[in-house]
């Protein structure tokens, strides 16, 4: 990051984190509780990621807990509702709420999605992939400029899960690379989303990953997904409700082998397990990262900005 002198911590490329839920607060602050076979769960967790929207309140228990946790652990603030990929103008009130959360917690990373959630004044509470057109590119780039200006820092932008073949003439990797080049933002590469989209839309996930400019990728998300049957069609649903599957693990190792280590976050938002079980998922990711990291990693494919 450009602001080393700032109070924001900087994550080592090999850092592994997990999504933080209220059910974990107590265990995160009590090192001897929630122990697992491999020992202290916190020994496998380098940082925590929180959804910004859960801390958009004036005070109360969520802030009391997170303020205490922030004293001991770096944070990543992940926005899920700003609708950067939408057609509506950016919601300035929501951007201001996000700015306040970022100012309060000085996180190591701030991220949002290349997706829309609101249209024509209705908020849909989901991350919907936009049509990949020049018009969407211009609009999303403008929204990212506005977000980075309001927060006075770079952000990372995440690829969405795709279910529907949308009209559009750009590939998603080209679209994301162009956003990063035009706005200076980094990329949050969600490898589970790439896999889910590849299965649902019928493209090759490896080709997708090869087309992403690896030097722009500053965080990776891993998560589990569900396989649903809707109208007789098998469809993968990004529900973050299970362990990371082997296919996603293989794609992750392939990316790390080519690009070098990146801060990696395991998301588990539906039926979230206790901290000890989540820590084992973090350990699994750390083991994958270590095994896949090329021996000469310090020279090749290092982070552009680390």
């Amino acid at each position: 990051m450009a602001d080393q002198e700032h109070t924001n911590p900087v994550l080592a490329p090999t850092s592994v984190g997990v999504g933080l839920k209220p059910a974990h607060y107590r265990d995160v602050l009590s090192p001897n509780s929630g122990r697992i076979g491999a020992g202290d769960p916190l020994s496998h967790i380098d940082f925590f990621e929180v959804h910004a929207e859960n801390y958009m309140c004036a005070g109360g228990a969520p802030h009391a807990w997170l303020t205490e946790i922030r004293k001991f652990h770096p944070l990543s603030v992940h926005g899920v509702c700003l609708s950067l990929g939408g057609h509506d103008a950016l919601d300035r009130d929501h951007l201001e709420r996000l700015r306040i959360v970022v100012e309060r917690y000085q996180p190591a990373l701030v991220s949002e999605h290349m997706a829309w959630s609101a249209h024509d004044g209705v908020f849909y509470n989901d991350l919907i992939a936009p049509p990949l057109t020049e018009a969407t590119l211009k609009r999303t780039a403008l929204h990212i400029d506005q977000m980075q200006e309001a927060l006075a820092r770079r952000i990372l932008i995440e690829n969405p899960s795709q279910y529907l073949t949308m009209p559009g003439d750009m590939s998603e990797p080209d679209f994301l690379n162009a956003l990063a080049r035009q706005t200076g933002c980094g990329l949050l590469l969600d490898i589970n989303n790439v896999y889910v989209s590849a299965c649902n839309l019928g493209f090759n996930a490896e080709t997708y990953l090869d087309a992403i400019e690896a030097s722009k990728v500053e965080e990776i998300h891993l998560a589990g997904h569900a396989i649903d049957l809707a109208r007789g069609v098998e469809i993968r649903v990004d529900d973050h409700g299970s362990p990371v599957c082997d296919d996603v693990g293989a794609l992750y190792r392939r990316f790390i082998a080519q690009a070098g280590p990146r801060p990696t976050l395991v998301e588990w938002d539906t039926d979230t397990p206790p901290l000890g079980e989540l820590a084992l998922e973090a350990k699994k990711a750390a083991d994958w990262m270590r095994a896949a990291t090329p021996k000469t990693t310090t020279q090749t494919g290092a982070f552009e900005n680390a």
């Binding site: 004036a58 005070g59 529907l164 649902n200 069609v233």
Partner: protein, 264 residues
């Protein structure tokens, strides 16, 4: 920063967003054929996933905000009501904590929920609880600080009440019913049609809910409006024959309701 302004943006592609948004919002899924590229069955499956994600996440958001209402009506009925509420009033803001602020009025007019007459008041009480949970932090004053502010006599003091403080009056026993639904309170016989005055305040991390007398409630309303202690207690005595100023003062102080005191 690059020179980009919203006036550069073409408006023509709005239609792609409009079409999908209409399908996502419609009460019933669309009939094929669809105006999207790709296989019709796959498109139907994809639209079903989006429609289900939206409805289930918003239903869950409401159930998180109204846990006692959800317990009172049961899971299936609650999901049904949440779906009807989405159809009637979808969220207009990304602040999902505010989604459902019109749920009490919706429940009040919701014919299938008529058998539980206090449902709307319970929803209103749960909104007040969540507001208290999320309100700004402030340190309450203790009795000593208040006596010091009034030089030993608090009569002519005016108070700033805690930002989390909420007062709610119902013609049903929603406070008692709410408490019965918290896991740590043993079941008791409740006359649902006995009205209650309820004080909600969060002086520290935990939200406290108390059922208070009509006099104490009136005194708090007057203090909240900026009346002095003497005025507030006088008004309370006029509406409540059994008003006990000392007990009321203890509720207000013990509840951590006051954060600042000054002479009128």
């Amino acid at each position: 920063m690059p020179d980009r302004t919203s006036t550069d943006l073409p408006a023509a592609d709005r239609e792609a967003f409009d079409r999908l948004a209409d399908v996502l919002r419609a009460p019933e899924p669309p009939e094929p054929p669809f105006e999207y590229t790709g296989d019709a069955d796959k498109t139907a499956a994809a639209l079903a996933v989006y429609r289900n994600n939206i409805r289930s996440s918003l239903s869950k958001a409401l159930a998180d905000k109204f846990p006692v209402v959800a317990q009172l009506v049961g899971e299936d009925f609650f999901k049904f009501a949440a779906n009807e509420y989405f159809n009637a009033a979808p969220p207009s803001s990304p602040m999902i904590a505010d989604y459902g602020d019109r749920f009490p009025q919706f429940l009040d007019a919701f014919e299938p929920a008529r058998s539980v007459p206090y449902l709307a008041d319970m929803a209103q009480l749960e909104i007040a609880w969540l507001e208290a949970y999320r309100a700004a932090d402030a340190d309450p004053l203790d009795a000593q600080a208040i006596m010091a502010a009034g030089d030993g006599d608090p009569s002519d003091l005016v108070f700033t009440l805690h930002p989390s403080l909420r007062l709610f009056k119902s013609s049903f026993a929603v406070g008692s019913i709410w408490r019965r639904h918290q896991s740590d309170v043993a079941p008791e016989d409740i006359n649902a049609s006995a009205g209650e005055c309820i004080l909600i305040v969060r002086p520290e991390r935990e939200v406290r809910l108390s059922i208070i007398s009509a006099g104490a409630f009136a005194a708090l309303e007057h203090l909240h409006a900026g009346d002095s202690v003497a005025e507030a207690l006088g008004q309370a005595a006029m509406i409540d024959d059994s008003f006990d100023p000392q007990a009321t003062f203890e509720i207000i102080l013990g509840g951590g309701c006051i954060i600042a005191a000054a002479r009128e």
